[in-house]
Symmetry: C2
Subunit: 639 residues, 2 copies
């Protein structure tokens, strides 16, 4: 598994993860101060060829999760980790202290274990913690009315520089987009830092940013912002190494993962996590109970609060940005799962259910929930309240166990908020399409609009090997209904540990779901990328079509499978229809005739009053017919 | 491209297409007469291992589109074609005559062209046609109150032998399924032949079955039946051969294509189609205007009624089961597309728009629509009224051009019905999620519940290379809303001609969408397969889990990537979580304790009254706790 040499000598970044994407360049938009530099990917487009002068096509800015990896001016060295983007912001708040080392018993043990020397990431800086009685969460700041640099960073990032285009252009862009159906989401035309602060203060959005993960680029999770996606990785006792998992992380963020969860349950969980966090420009989430269970040899009933508490502190001081805590699995809910087709399918949920049953007590996650809040507020670790009783099959969807736990998660949300600790809620699971909306509506109601973070849901159980698709369908729908972040599912779900290719497939599928949701909600300017790509497609700007897509490499590869020549990249057809059957090509010939016919017809066409169109059409048609007969001969000019 | 030897010597069936699927066998259910033999795939399952006696798991019958190819007792010879399943039914009706050869001028020319000798399928029998003044459509029979063998075949097929299980078992199965939301669909618990007749008579469903395609196994398309999917294939001037296209057909039906459309636009369209139809157990659809355009050298304006009429007869006498006819593209609608982002993206639509414009006349498809009906009724070719003005981008969705055409398709539907010709309506295209339902609702309203047959819709434009997924999301949703058949989209959409792998990926994706729709609509017993697979998953019956899935080969391959050993096929974990973190394994330990605790708790658990559960749980819990402490040691028995 892990080569003994890994860390100190051989750690190398995946070369594929540091190439800039085709037709793209990394740019930074500066905020109100020089150290707020918000990264974007700018996709430059070729001009539209016309009979007269070519028309320029404006480049398109897209949200960029890949961090410094795609910045040619940055030298990536996994052994050093990323630069501390947020360090000065954290310092300036002067509410944290640097510790002289890990305060968790386990953290110290690992740090001092000579056997781990070559596995260990050489972290030179000390961990940080909020000063005594200080609350260092973004929620706390927001409620104090403080707009943090993180919030300003996010506002710029979410706007994708729309306003820089000028109000006329913005109006034009919004005119070219369908009004959405947001089911109560509030999507302002411009996201201001104050709006970010207000959403965080209200608990409707969270900014996962542990003070010990200053390398991360601030991002926000809430239904009044762009829908986000999470990619899971992590080794298991059966498979994978630290190298593999770091590669999956860099590969995942390249394709669009907004956050990464390290779900490692195998060897060297502590060291694997350190390597991932130090090199991650996105927030990292974990399920601490996994490591706690490892610490007690996998015997659930031997878990206890002390071990769990030490694990939380250990991970908080490494920089984990959000914790999945299955505190909603109550003793009295366990019987509700006895008759299920697939029982309890959440690892954390099943572990805690077993603990509760064995000890005949409520779990320490529930009884010590306020103690956990006390820890989270001193590092700004956000809660991701786990759905330990989520349905693992369509049959178990929306049952008593699931919704009983959801109500408890609602109570816990209020407790977290009482401590100014950020919180989001995890959701199912396997749910048929017609039962998805009930999940979203109940969550908003039970949890007072705290962000929802769902796994899929998978809309059918019958396609192992394709569960990125069964779940992508449900993810797009629940994203539309108001889910803030979609946890991806890979083709390997239910079958095995995903590899790098599976990670990419899962990420692209979920980018599709998240974007489809943004479109349906009517997120301002979300349709801009669709319009730009479709215009490129209609104008046979093949390279632009590839580059505007979520995966330019695959699009180009598929096209070139049958037409590899460069000349085909300007051809007015592809191998699907061939030259004579390209509807778009023919459509151009049809359209040109109108455009040459002046504005009158176009104005009529814009009008939905058919009667008007009929007359207009009839009026203009005779000239068209003549014109076409005249030009008929040239119409099929060879490409 | 095509090897000159192909037909007469070298035509061979794709060996991969004739293997029986793992754990499955072909069975036939006999109807009221010996020659009604309805094919199914029976998936046999292994027993559930228990501490006591093993419990048998009943085998599952699934709808089977693969025809004789997966019947080990049938010898497939592409050069001879399939047996004439429906021949006697057609004979018995005594309303058709055998012609002494093709009556179309083009058909005769191809038949007599010595250059084509080696390309030609050697069809020994003569084409058939309805006798003078006789209408041979299933719609005509249905309206006469006649229940045809085709209708009985379909009733048995749609029921999937549910009733054979006995009313108690049926009740149990339906109890284990969520009530659906059908948006007005009427889904009886048992599909009777009379129900089939009634739905066809009402125009709410069609049975595409040309009298010249007696090889086909009857199937039905209507929203009160299982949602169906279509797979497109066909060569282009740029790529592919007859062999390739026949292989795509046999591969497509293996994975679940209910119908196949041959969209060939390249060389030897006539001969390619003959090979496909003679070997297809599913209905074959075409877009006759493509071949007509080939006949006039690709110059749209040179098309005319005579050439088109001859093409219809040529194809009807080969056995095409449904024609896509873009008769709704009216002259006055063309201006409505002038301002679109992607103009006209339907091949047929753009061809006809150009023709109309050039001649300044309504198209011959529209002016001769009743003449087309006269042809269709003598062969029982169904209409698939083409949406020539469908949106090719999210921006163009639900616009004036699209809905204007839909209204015209509604008028044409009534004309077809006047002639007792079966008709379904084609739909978009590219549509964001929140605008999909409007498409379904308008179609039902404009076309009086004639079946809707949609391409996707694609819910975003930004993922070339993944449009099977962007469209699978929309397909699942519109299938739920009432769409009767979903036309697949492959990963190559917009980029190139799909190959065999793309066909399979498209088919599996659409089987997922169709089944998800059946579940959401609450189709009787649709959830049975999900429940069986999830039970197998929960019981670690890995082989059963693979075999119950839509693609057993891929599921097994993914699993074996990390755990290839046979022992892993019974292991209580996979490489994703490893032995100690398998939630299902832990869940069993939790559940066992309840099951051993007698019925009381289970009854409580079934009850949604939490208070009751709480008491029950508390009551039973102490014993549980004791029991667990006692058995704690064995709980982690090694696998």
């Amino acid at each position: 598994m892990t080569s003994p040499q890994f860390l100190s000598d051989t750690a190398r970044v995946d070369e594929n993860a540091i190439q800039t994407l085709p037709g793209s360049r990394k740019i930074y938009v500066e905020g109100s101060r020089a150290d707020i530099r918000v990264p974007f990917r700018e996709i430059s487009l070729s001009p539209t060829r016309t009979s007269g002068q070519d028309e320029e096509n404006p480049s398109l800015l897209v949200y960029d999760t890949s961090g410094p990896y795609t910045d040619p001016n940055t030298k990536i060295d996994l052994r050093k980790g990323l630069t501390e983007l947020r360090r000065h912001w954290i310092d300036a708040r002067d509410d944290t202290e640097c510790l002289d080392g890990p305060t968790s018993e386990y953290g110290r043990r690992r740090a001092n274990d000579p056997m781990l020397a070559r596995l260990r990431f050489e972290l030179t800086r000390a961990p940080r913690r909020g000063k005594k009685d200080r609350n260092v969460t973004q929620l706390h700041y927001a409620r104090q009315g403080i707009v943090t640099p993180e919030m300003e960073f996010i506002a710029i990032r979410e706007n994708q520089r729309l306003q820089a285009l000028g109000s006329d252009e913005v109006e034009r862009i919004l005119d070219q987009q369908h009004p959405g159906e947001g089911f109560g989401a509030r999507l302002p035309e411009e996201i201001t830092p104050e709006f970010v602060r207000d959403e965080v203060a209200a608990g409707r959005a969270i900014i996962p940013c542990n003070i010990n993960h200053p390398e991360s680029e601030p991002m926000i999770i809430g239904r009044n912002f762009l829908v986000k996606i999470n990619g899971n990785l992590g080794n298991s006792a059966v498979s994978s190494s630290i190298e593999d998992e770091v590669d999956k992380m860099t590969w995942g963020i390249r394709w669009g993962a907004d956050t990464i969860m390290d779900l490692s349950t195998g060897a060297n969980i502590h060291e694997t996590r350190e390597w991932i966090i130090r090199n991650a420009p996105v927030p990292i989430g974990t399920v601490p109970i996994y490591q706690a269970l490892e610490k007690v040899g996998g015997v659930a009933e031997n878990l206890n609060w002390e071990i769990f508490r030490d694990t939380l502190i250990e991970q908080a001081e490494q920089g984990v940005d959000y914790f999945t805590i299955h505190a909603g699995v109550l003793l009295r809910y366990v019987p509700l799962t006895a008759e299920r087709v697939t029982g309890i399918v959440s690892r954390g949920g099943s572990i805690m259910a077993k603990w509760c049953l064995y000890h005949h007590e409520e779990s320490f996650l529930y009884t010590h929930f306020e103690d956990i809040c006390e820890i989270c507020k001193r590092y700004d670790v956000a809660f991701s309240l786990g759905d330990g009783l989520r349905p693992g099959s369509v049959a178990d969807a929306n049952d008593a166990a699931q919704f009983a736990e959801l109500e408890t998660l609602g109570e816990l949300t209020k407790i977290a908020w009482k401590h100014d600790v950020q919180v989001m809620i995890e959701g199912p699971g396997h749910v048929p399409m017609h039962l998805i909306k009930e999940n979203m509506d109940k969550q908003l109601e039970c949890c007072d609009e705290a962000p929802f973070y769902t796994l899929g849901p998978l809309v059918t159980d019958i396609a192992p090997g394709y569960d990125h698709i069964t779940s992508g369908i449900g993810a797009a729908m629940i994203g539309w209904y108001g889910c803030a972040m979609l946890c991806y599912v890979t083709p390997k779900e239910h079958l095995g540990l995903p590899n790098k290719d599976d990670v990419k497939t899962g990420i692209i599928t979920y980018k599709i779901a998240a974007h489809a949701a943004d479109l349906a909600k009517g997120h301002p300017a979300a349709q801009r990328r669709d319009n730009a790509l479709s215009k490129a497609r209609f104008e046979f700007r093949w390279e632009d079509q590839f580059n505007l897509g979520l995966d330019p490499d695959t699009a180009r590869e598929y096209h070139d499978e049958t037409l590899p020549k460069d000349s085909a990249k300007v051809a007015h057809f592809c191998s699907m229809c061939g030259p004579k059957f390209c509807s778009m090509k023919i459509s151009h010939e049809v359209r040109d005739s109108f455009l040459n016919n002046g504005a009158s017809l176009k104005d009529e066409a814009r009008d939905n009053d058919l009667e008007g169109d009929v007359e207009a059409a009839m009026k203009g048609m005779e000239e068209q017919a003549v014109k076409f007969r005249r030009e008929g001969a040239e119409l099929y000019r060879k490409v």
